[in-house]
Symmetry: C2
Subunit: 84 residues, 2 copies
């Protein structure tokens, strides 16, 4: 399954808000064939990175849209390195 | 130890090039107290994301500088979500 990293910028939310938003993604993702795997938040800079598997960028976007409306600014189809 | 995500844009390199660059990071990182944990590459878009632990953004930048010279455009201090 393709892997994607999305990038949210100028996010006006706390880490706790993002934790809650992510829970909603996980509740919503299945019907779009998406799995949100992990995420990283820079609260001060308002940046959020979400790593997900799914059939397409659009499928991941749909999950964010339906779950909480906070869609990403950019979505990249990525290959993952070997974790060290 | 603080956690960081760096973002490289307009990268003119193949996935294989990035794999090699990452190996050089891992060889160089110890003296700067840094640990590069994983990375994600979008070869078509020329985007690379590196996740690392270390004392500071600057320490991570130093590793890239010394290892291969391909420094990031931006570095974010992040909190990581729970992997699902």
């Amino acid at each position: 399954m393709p892997l994607f990293m999305d990038v949210h910028r100028n996010v006006d939310a706390t880490v706790e808000d993002v934790v809650e938003a992510h829970k909603k993604d996980v509740e919503t993702q299945e019907k779009h064939g998406v799995k949100y795997l992990n995420y990283w938040v820079d609260e001060d800079e308002g940046a959020v990175f979400c790593l997900f598997e799914g059939p397409s960028k659009e499928a991941g976007e749909k999950v964010h849209e339906e779950a909480h409306g906070l869609t990403a600014d950019e979505i990249f189809e990525v290959e993952q390195g070997e974790a060290t």
